[in-house]
Symmetry: C2
Subunit: 569 residues, 2 copies
C-alpha cells in the first residue's frame, strides 16, 4: 500500500488540500504509546520530534537539529525535508496553499495555541484518517492504575484537590495532561514509556469532587474503592464528549495543552471558557518534605547503581566487546538491583567519542560502537523509582584525556560548582542564574546549545515545568522544594562531548533569611582524571572533595559492597 | 485661591467625577520643563515621580518608595497619600468611582497604554483645566535648536532617516519622543534640564522626507537651511492637529509614548494605525565609531574633573563647612573646566552617611549636611559633553571605614569587576549577566534593590532603552556599540550607602569570534582604603591595578596637573 497516495485520495474525496500529521498524542506529553505512532507509521520516522504535512501533490517533513540526519535516513525522499528552525509547518502551508484551500487536522492532537498560526480554513477530522488505514495498529495500553501511596506522595489527593479547587477561576477545571492528573489524584500507571502516567482526563469541580475519564479496564477494585471514598466518579474516556456536551457554567482550561476537540465541544455546549495555565504546575513543582526524602532515597539507589557500573566498566578490557548499547544495558541491570526501581526515566544516552557530541544521541544497532581506551564516554541516564525520579550525566575519560579535553571538562565543572554553590534571594529566576554555569566556558569562547537545567518530577516526568535554568525561564522564581537539573556541557562536533549533570533542590538557608541555595541530590562520583587542578580555586577543590566524601559516606552506609567514588577511570 | 476647590468646581460644571493629574509632559520624557510642572503647581510636590487624582469630595496623591517621605512634607493633608507599589491611581479610581462616573484627563499627557487600566468613561480635556487657573505659568522654552555636527554624530541625518524609513511597517512614522527625534535629525536643544533635546514631533515618510513640528522661534537660519537641504519641512507645533487631520494611508506609532490626542486625531481622520515600538530605539542604542570615540573623550574630561575634585576633597578640613551641596557645586566647577562640557546629565547625588543609603537622594537646603571624617560619602554624578554623556558613582571613606563597610564595598567591587570582565556570546541579554554583579553580595545575604545597568545616550538621555542589565531586560540582546552603566551597590538604611558605577560599552573580541565583552569608559579612581584585600582574587587585584594604571596614563596625558588615582581618601 502506498500510504501517502492513500491519504491523498482521502483528501481528494473530502476536498482537503492538506493534512497535518504531528507526532504528539491527545495528552501532549513527552512520551507516546505505540498506538499513537501515526507519524512513524506514515513516514518511518522513529525520533521523538517530527511533523508531516501532506498536500495534494507533495508532502513535507519537519524535525529539529537533533534529528535532521536521522530523518534523511528514515523518511522517504518523496517528502521535502526541513529543519524546523529554518522553516516550520505553518510557514510551509502558507507558502504552498492558496488562501481558500482547506486543511484537515485531528482535533484530538492539536491545541488552540498550536492551530493559531495556520491562516487557512481548518477542518477537524475524527476519527483520524490514518486510523482507518493502519491495519495492524496496536491497541491502547490497558495496564492497571496504581495508587501512589501517601508515604511517597506526602499529601493525600483530597488535600491536593481542595488546594487546586480553591485556586480555580471557574466552577470547574478540565485537566488533560497526564502528569498533572497523576500528581493531583496520586495515581500512577504504565501507559507510556519512562513516565508513569495514566492516559486520562479529569474534570475537577470547585467542591473538590471530580470525574476521572479513563479506560475502565484500567481500574481495579482498589482504585474504584478509592474513587468512591474521595468523591470521584470513573467515566469511560470514550464518553468524554457526550459528557462535556451536557456541561454548563464556566470551565477553566489550559489553552497550551487542551485538545481542540474538548474546547470546541465545551463552546458548542455554551460553557464559558476561562483560559489559564494549568493550576497544578506550580504546586506539583514544589515538592513536599516526604517527596524530598523520597528523592534522596532514590538518589542513593541510583548512586549505588552508578558506582557499581563504574566499577564494572573499569574492569572491562574495552577491546571491542563492550559497546555503547551493552554498557547501557549493564547500567540498567545495576539499577534494577535497587528495590525502589521501576523503569528508566528516559532512553539512556550512552555515547562514546564523537557520539558524545550529539546532545540527544540514542545508540541504535546501526550506530552502536565499542568503547575504547582512547576517548571520552558520555553517559546520561536516569531512573523512575517509587519515591522519585533521577537524571544524571557523567563524562569519563576511558584513556588519557587531551589537555583540551581537561580544560573544557574543568570549565564545565567550575560552572556546575558555581551553580551548585549559588546563593540567591527569594524571587530570583532560573534565567538569572544561567550565566553562572556558563561564565568559565565563555571566557575561552565556548558555550553549550541547551539550557542549564530543567525541572524534574517526583516519580513523574523527568522534564517538568514551570521552573528551569535557562534564558527562557525568566518569569518563574525558584522556590524551595523545586527539583532541577544542573547540567552544563561542552560539545566538539565530530570529536567528543562533555556534560556534568546532577539534580538539585532549592533549599532555604536558615542563616540567611530571604535567601535560597541548592542541595545536590545526585550521588555519583566525578572522573578526577579529567580535572585540570590548576584551574580550580581552593573553594572549588574543597567542593569536589566534600562531594566525594559525602558520596562515599552515604553510599557505604547503604550498600554491602564498597563503591570507591572517584576511582572510575 | 484654593486650587483643589477651584478644580473641583470646574469638574462639577463639566459633570466629571475625577481628574487625572500626572507629572509627565506631552513628550513622556524623564525631565520636564517648568511650564509642565502642573502637578507641582497643584500639590507642591517637587519630586520626579508623582500622580494626583482629584475626585468630587476627595483627592489622592501617589508616588514611589523614593518620595513617600518627601510627599508627606510637601503635599497638603487633604490628599490621601499612597505608595504606588501598594495602590496605584487606577485601583483608587475603581474603588472610589461608580461605573458610570466620568474621568477627565489631558489627552496630551496620556498614552493609549496608560489609559487602558481606567475602566470608567474617559473625557479628554483640552486645554488642560489647570492651565486656565495657573496665573504665573512659565512660558515654554524658546532656546534655539542646534545641529549636532557630523564630527560628533558620526552619521548624517539623511542616512539615519533612510535607514529608519526603510524599516517602517507603514507609509509614515509619527515620532513623539524628543531623544529619538534628536538622534534621528542630529539636533539638540535646551528644552528640559539635563537632556539636550528639543520639544518636537516628527513625521517621517517612507521616502525619507519629514515634517518637524516645533516652535518656529527655536529655528535659526542654520536650521532652516539644513531642513530645506534635507527634505525637511518646519511646521509650527501648534498646527500639528490640523496637519494630522489631513493625513491618510497608514501611520506607524509607538503606543507606549504617543499622546492619546495624536492617536485619536489620526483615527478620526481615517488613518490606519500600525502599532510598533519606536524604530529609533535600537539604532540609537548602537553607537557608531565616532560616537564611541566621543564617549572616550567625554570620559577623559569627566575623569580629570573627578580627580581634581577628589584632590580638592582630600585637602578639605571637613570640619563642618564642606556640605553635600557645596561638594556637588565644587564638582560642577571642575566639570565646567572641560571644554566639551555643557550640563550635568542629571542632578548630582551627593550623600554623606545615612544619606548615601537613599538611592535617589537629592540634597536640598533643608537636608544638606556637612561631610565629616567618620563615614562613607556616595557621589553619583554625570555630565553632558558635546561628544557624549557620562554617569559615574564613587564611594569614598572619609574616615576609617568599619570592617563591615570594607567587606560590603569589596563585594560590590568584585561584582563590578566580574561584569566588567565578562565575556559572553552573541545573543546574550542583560538579564543573563545581572547575577554576575550580585553573586558576591548574595553569598552573605545582601543585595541591592535596583538594576545593575541602564543604557546611556550619546550627548542625549542618561537613561536610554532598550538595553539594560537587570532581570527585566530579558528580551534585548547586548550588541557592540551599546553603552551601559555597571553599577552594583549596597545600602544599609540609616547608616551608609555604597555604589560603584562605571559606564561600559559592548565590544567585539577579535580573538573570540561570536563573543563580546565590555570596555570600561569611565576613568575615575576607586577608593583603595575601602578594599578588603584578602577578599580579592589575583585576577581581581590585577584588574584594579591595571584600571588605575590606565586612568593615570590616560589622564596625565590630557591634563596639565597630575591627578593621583587612588589617593582619594
Amino acid at each position: 500500500m502506498n500510504k501517502l497516495k492513500t491519504l491523498q485520495d482521502f483528501m481528494k474525496k473530502h476536498d482537503l488540500s492538506a493534512l497535518l500529521i504531528p507526532r504528539t498524542d491527545e495528552f501532549q506529553g513527552e512520551y507516546i504509546a505505540s498506538y499513537s505512532q501515526r507519524l512513524a507509521w506514515l513516514t518511518g520516522f522513529t525520533g521523538s520530534a517530527g511533523f508531516a504535512v501532506v498536500a495534494k501533490d507533495k508532502a513535507a517533513f519537519f524535525t529539529d537539529g537533533r534529528y535532521v540526519l536521522q530523518a534523511k535516513n528514515e523518511v522517504p525522499n518523496v517528502y521535502e525535508q526541513y529543519n524546523i528552525s529554518q522553516k516550520n509547518p505553518s510557514q510551509w502551508v502558507l507558502e504552498n496553499l492558496a488562501a481558500h484551500e482547506k486543511i484537515g487536522y485531528d482535533p484530538w492532537l492539536f491545541t488552540e495555541d498550536q492551530l493559531k498560526k495556520y491562516d487557512r480554513p481548518l477542518v477537524p477530522l475524527t476519527p483520524n484518517p490514518i486510523d482507518h488505514l493502519w491495519i495492524d495498529r496496536p491497541a491502547p495500553p490497558q495496564d492497571s492504575i496504581r495508587l501512589h501511596p501517601l508515604e511517597y506522595a506526602g499529601e493525600d489527593d483530597q488535600s491536593k484537590r481542595r488546594r487546586i479547587a480553591a485556586s480555580l477561576k471557574a466552577d470547574q477545571l478540565l485537566l488533560t495532561t497526564c502528569d498533572s492528573i497523576a500528581w493531583l489524584l496520586n495515581i500512577r500507571g504504565n501507559d507510556v514509556p519512562h513516565t508513569p502516567v495514566v492516559h486520562s482526563i479529569c474534570l475537577l469541580r470547585r467542591d473538590g469532587s471530580y470525574d476521572l475519564f479513563v479506560d475502565p479496564r484500567k481500574a481495579n477494585d482498589a482504585i474504584l474503592h478509592h474513587l468512591q471514598k474521595t468523591g470521584g466518579q470513573l467515566i469511560d474516556i470514550s464518553q468524554v464528549l457526550p459528557h462535556l456536551q451536557k456541561m454548563e457554567g464556566f470551565c477553566q482550561i489550559d489553552p497550551q495543552t487542551t485538545p481542540m476537540i474538548l474546547l470546541q465541544t465545551l463552546e458548542q455546549a455554551g460553557v464559558k471558557i476561562v483560559r489559564e495555565r494549568d493550576p497544578c504546575l506550580y504546586p506539583k513543582a514544589l515538592k513536599n518534605a516526604v517527596e524530598l526524602k523520597g528523592a534522596r532515597e532514590a538518589h542513593i539507589q541510583d548512586g549505588i547503581a552508578l558506582c557499581r557500573f563504574f566499577e564494572w566498566l573499569h574492569k572491562q578490557p574495552l577491546e571491542g566487546e563492550t559497546t555503547e548499547r551493552l554498557a547501557a544495558k549493564k547500567l540498567l541491570e545495576f539499577r534494577k538491583e535497587g528495590y525502589l526501581f521501576q523503569d528508566l526515566s528516559f532512553g539512556t544516552i550512552s555515547g562514546f567519542g564523537a557520539h558524545g557530541a550529539i546532545i540527544h544521541y540514542h545508540a541504535t544497532p546501526e550506530s552502536d560502537i565499542p568503547l575504547k581506551r582512547d576517548g571520552l564516554y558520555l553517559l546520561d541516564s536516569g531512573g523512575q523509582y517509587l519515591t522519585g525520579t533521577t537524571d544524571v550525566t557523567r563524562t569519563i575519560a576511558l584513556g588519557t584525556p587531551t589537555p583540551e579535553q581537561k580544560d573544557r571538562y574543568t570549565r564545565v565543572l567550575k560552572g556546575h560548582i558555581a551553580l551548585a554553590k549559588a546563593i540567591f534571594p527569594e524571587g530570583t529566576t532560573g534565567a538569572q542564574l544561567d550565566s553562572l554555569a556558563r561564565q568559565f566556558l565563555w571566557k575561552v569562547g565556548c558555550d553549550y546549545d541547551h539550557g542549564t537545567g530543567h525541572g524534574v518530577g517526583s516519580y513523574l516526568s523527568v522534564h517538568e515545568g514551570p521552573q528551569g535554568i535557562s534564558k527562557w525561564a525568566s518569569d518563574v522564581p525558584l522556590k524551595p522544594g523545586m527539583i532541577l537539573s544542573n547540567e552544563p556541557g561542552y560539545y566538539k562536533e565530530g570529536e567528543y562531548g562533555i556534560r556534568i549533570e546532577n539534580l538539585v533542590t532549592v533549599i532555604e538557608l536558615p542563616e540567611l533569611p530571604g535567601f535560597y541555595g541548592f542541595e545536590t541530590l545526585t550521588l555519583a562520583p566525578l572522573d578526577l582524571k579529567l580535572i585540570e587542578d590548576r584551574l580550580l580555586t581552593d573553594g572549588e577543590r574543597a567542593w569536589v572533595e566534600k562531594y566525594h566524601e559525602r558520596i562515599r559516606e552515604t553510599l557505604t552506609q547503604h550498600s554491602d559492597r564498597h563503591p570507591i567514588p572517584g576511582g572510575v577511570g
